[in-house]
Symmetry: C2
Subunit: 548 residues, 2 copies
């Protein structure tokens, strides 16, 4: 008969994260550049007190355990208070991506049955337009003070966030409940079909926060000043709002100001040491820094994920600016962190060139997650760095099912059930480093062989005249599909088709070189900053390749 | 009604730690200097396979779920296999401190009802002597190969560890069970009364492993080569065998070879970057390094705990040898890590002198633990760095009760139940940094005022002629108690009573300076390397202070 352990028993709750920060790093600052234009400063102690007052306010509005509180907001202290005030009081925090189409936002709010919708001043026009469609919402809360409230609004009974908080005394004890209770919902960006909701639990979020803060993951510590560029409306800003509380770090929120100049000034003025975001954001920051001949004085490292980080960007940040790049991979269904690329003691003895090749991979799983690559029959493929297959994962912070969806998304690996299919195609090497070679729907199938569009894009991105590059499959009568390279040139740069294609020579096998180049003014992006391949493919539908 | 989360559900089990290491860092080395004299090398993949074979062997010996497997062993790969093989198969790993008195060992084995006892070759004579008293033990296993088995032994049916493993095929699937099941038992050193058992659970051990590996705690990562000096028979080597698996680090086990020369050579030959141990061990290593004019070429940082680290030792390691010292505090009842001292972003801007004062404190709690200082009536004291009180803790890896003890050890803080009283006296400052000022039973009560024996010891230790120092209370007719300083001089060093006492002037208030100095050849230590105050007090019972 099993012997029971005799340890204290307490649930893993999100409220315990901010209680810890308030109690043990109470004086540490949280700085927010707000959409109202000002720079707001307070401490973790203040944040926890205001989160409690928000919990009281939400209860006073009639919110009941398990009900959803939606947000349309930038990275800022009030958004943080909703993260903790809602989840901590057994409500469910539902962050909504404001960059989605308005109809998608309305659909998501309805699917989640949001009872309260909190939004930043920026989104007042959007919410005014959408309000009639948001039939589940009982209370609309503008996340600002009385001075910024509109004199009149199309939204009935529009509430003022600061007034709601001012009416409460903070005399509130965080409730204790089952750690498997839902803490928050994030919807996938839904490139095909309607978005689907991932319902995180308190347990999964706290375990993710531990894992994400580890030295081989985001390496969060109290010595850091952390600026999350990745939006809090995008998979909980990769869990940073939770990991930051675990370590009691100083935090800097950029609000809507994500242009190169604003970010650079905030980095320098607040002594930011660590940041995280998608490649697109760093493109903007680097362009600003380069064109103004600036240096970073405190910025030491950044996690880059969301899309594969082009090796050229990695090299610029590391070699020219001394910023360590931690390449990461994850997805909404993984809370989101799956893998990060950090060298181990053996690899630290390799020549720099070989180290760089490793850092360009998406890296190793955090303890708490497991992964495999499988073929189309669900058989595990070898970890040899070459065998490319469908990437599947499982672990404490991976979804088991989608909100309101009866069908299980899970698959089997070698007959063992319970693996989540990511839709990515990847290799894993003998050291456990994973590399995404493609999205399963982006891969180019040429004469029965697979060509990785990411590899082709990365090479193009290394050309000094290329600002952005995307590769899609164009139909070909003989080979079924052949790669077409779509390029946005850098301002003022000149490059032609022949020179571009010649750039591939010697870098990959001849048969993998794109058949043609299309120069365009802009490449379409999704709401989360990823290249919108679907749209690009539509744009180039029927494209006639030379010789085809 | 609460909304359930929709994440995958899997228990936090110790077997998942080594499965993770074997799967994702399978080729990473584990090096063991063994008591047989050789240096053994294998990998995390080998360790996991052999742990599975051990699990099979233990089942074949008739061990049933929940039964205890005792160990008397040094830090080495076989001990690691028992950690995982026993706990992973729902048995309970019971590590026994071989430095305890033989009668205490026999008592502990009986209290734990160990069914199997595994022991290193070193302890064969001890076990032969004790065997008749160990009536609960059905199988004695010598942790070695056939070549090292004694031709004849007083132990009936003595089994050979390597033969047990050789008989199994490793075709074993780690069982899944309730994460609150007991994983291991450690007994307190029992300075007063019989030792008491702390019964850790799989959940508490895994959460401790996450917390202990965090950047502000032990900062374990795959880039480290970790040598745990702290014994695996002493509170699970501070949890390192688990945290090392989380990060997949290269590991070096020193076996019984803990002298300065052996440790130094192992550090250099294997490229050790990180270690952890009690102050006594570092005394030995530093003496060897100093007297041979050596430097460390890879050793970068060490956690020092178990007893307060004397500031002089901290200064030597950091200033003379460039080894970062992370001062830590914990205890058996805490799995054991409670606090560690690392600077935050604000403190990194302070002058070096002030930073050093902070690093000399025991530091901040890891997320997962909370602490408070209380007065004798259970009222919480302010966090001002001055108010000294009884240190109490609670958290995921704190015991709720002792093995086989009906009485709850827990106390209330401001009327709130569920806090574990540590027996330490401490202050906490506004930044959450805790400093132990004494054991509650070691504090000196002079005329109603408390004097910290640790503070007096630390000052004495900073004198170049002092090898080790201890302060105890001597009875005094007027002041009740007054401090008596007991000193072991460095070999060849000369210092007298007057010079020693004069060394205190200007460093503390006059009334706190010890009344007398006793020079001795040796100070008694407990089995875990702590100064044995109880024995010292007995030794100096009836000591007549000058003027008393």
């Amino acid at each position: 008969m099993a012997l029971p352990g005799q340890m204290m028993s307490m649930p893993l709750l999100i409220s315990s994260l901010i209680q810890h920060a308030a109690r043990h790093s109470g004086d540490t600052e949280i700085v927010s550049k707000r959409c109202e234009g000002d720079l707001h400063r307070y401490t973790w102690r203040d944040a926890e007190l205001r989160s409690r007052r928000l919990a009281q306010a939400l209860a006073r509005l009639g919110c009941e355990s398990g009900e959803r509180v939606g947000t349309l907001a930038w990275n800022g202290h009030r958004h943080l208070e909703i993260y903790y005030g809602a989840s901590g009081s057994a409500l469910v925090c539902h962050t909504i991506n404001p960059r989605l189409f308005p109809e998608q936002i309305a659909w998501i709010v309805g699917d989640a049955e949001d009872r309260v919708l909190c939004f930043d001043l920026t989104f007042l026009p959007l919410v005014e337009k959408l309000a009639p469609l948001l039939t589940t919402v009982r209370h609309f809360v503008l996340m600002s003070d009385r001075a910024h409230m509109p004199a009149a609004s199309a939204i009935p009974n529009l509430l003022c966030y600061e007034e709601l908080l001012a009416a409460e005394d903070g005399d509130y004890v965080w409730p204790q409940f089952d750690e498997n209770t839902a803490s928050s919902i994030c919807y996938t960006s839904g490139t095909t079909g309607n978005p689907k909701g991932a319902v995180y639990s308190h347990r999964s979020s706290v375990l993710h926060a531990y894992g994400a803060a580890l030295p081989d993951a985001m390496d969060c510590s109290a010595k850091d000043v952390i600026l999350p560029v990745v939006p809090m409306f995008h998979v909980n800003a990769w869990g940073l709002p939770y990991s930051m509380a675990i370590v009691g770090a100083k935090v800097v929120f950029p609000g809507p100001h994500l242009d190169g100049k604003s970010l650079y000034e905030l980095f320098e003025n607040e002594g930011v040491t660590f940041s995280a975001g998608v490649p697109t954001v760093w493109l903007g920051l680097l362009t600003y820094v380069k064109s103004n001949n600036l240096r970073f004085s405190t910025f030491k490292r950044t996690v880059i994920g969301g899309s594969a980080c082009p090796p050229a960007m990695l090299a610029t940040l590391m070699d020219d600016y001394g910023v360590e790049v931690i390449h990461a991979w994850g997805m909404t269904e993984l809370s989101p962190l799956g893998t990060l690329s950090k060298l181990n003691s053996k690899q630290l003895e390799l020549p720099p060139e070989q180290q760089r090749r490793i850092l360009e991979k998406q890296g190793k799983v955090i303890y708490g997650i497991d992964m495999a690559v499988i073929d189309d029959e669900g058989r595990a493929l070898p970890w040899d760095g070459r065998s490319s297959g469908n990437l599947v994962v499982r672990g404490h912070w991976v979804i088991g099912s989608y909100f309101r969806q009866a069908a299980s998304p899970l698959v089997t690996v070698d007959g063992q059930p319970g693996w989540f299919p990511t839709g990515d195609v990847a290799t894993i090497d003998a050291d456990g480093f994973m590399q995404i070679t493609d999205r399963s729907k982006d891969v180019i199938k040429s004469g029965g062989e697979w060509i990785s569009s990411i590899e082709l894009e990365n090479i193009a991105m290394a050309h000094p005249a290329v600002h952005e590059a995307a590769v899609i499959a164009a139909l070909h009568p003989k080979w079924d599909e052949r790669p077409l390279l779509v390029v946005v040139k850098k301002p003022g740069a000149e490059i032609g088709r022949e020179e571009m294609l010649a750039f591939y020579e010697g870098k990959i096998a001849k048969w993998q070189i794109p058949d043609d180049v299309a120069f365009v003014a802009e490449i379409p992006h999704t709401a989360t900053g990823k290249i919108q391949k679907l749209k690009l493919r539509e744009q180039f539908k029927g494209y006639r390749l030379p010789g085809a």
